[in-house]
Amino acid sequence: MINIFLVVLLLFLVVVGVYAILTRSLIASVIALSVFSTTLTVIFLILQAVDVAMTEAVIGAGLVTSFFVVTINKTEEN
């Protein structure tokens, strides 16, 4: 049963990745990357990797997203 849930999560991961790459808007791509790393966290938890899941949650949800948003903000014409 948990395998079916893992398959659903993997399919969702691929869909989010496709959207993050193919969308035009940069900030939408960054938002999709945040959702992507969240899904990755839950997949790591199902694969029983608690430390990796914790690090991925911290870095993917908070740190890398703020790096990207600050960079987008600095490279836009105002």
Binding site: M1, I2, F5, V8, L9, F12, V15, V16, Y19, S25, I27, A28, I31, A32, S34, V35, T38, T39, T41, V42, L45, I46, Q48, V50, A53, M54, A57, V58, A61, G62, L63, T65, S66, V69, V70, I72, N73, N78
Partner: protein
């Protein structure tokens, strides 16, 4: 039988992701992403019940804290856009 709410929340996440894809404005997408994060928070807690692992609750907590940073940064970005674009 904790699988039933797990799959229901997963369906809800997929429906919320439709709003991320479709949402015409940036605030729609950000709110939808925050909502997805909160639902994954619930999924992590259900997995803690499923695997009988109380350490998963630590991960849920640290994820909630860092999701707050995420939304705060995006809110500040939107605020600067609103001031500069003035619409």
């Amino acid at each position: 039988m904790i699988y039933i709410p797990l799959f229901i929340i997963m369906c809800s996440i997929i429906l919320t992701f439709y709003r991320v894809v479709k949402g015409p404005t940036i605030p729609d997408r950000i709110t939808a992403a925050d909502s997805i994060g909160t639902q994954f928070f619930a999924v992590i807690i259900m997995l803690a019940f499923l695997f009988k692992a109380d350490f998963f609750l630590d991960i849920a907590m640290v994820y909630a804290v860092l999701l707050f940073v995420d939304i705060l940064v995006m809110a500040k970005y939107l605020e600067s856009k609103r001031v500069s674009d003035n619409d």
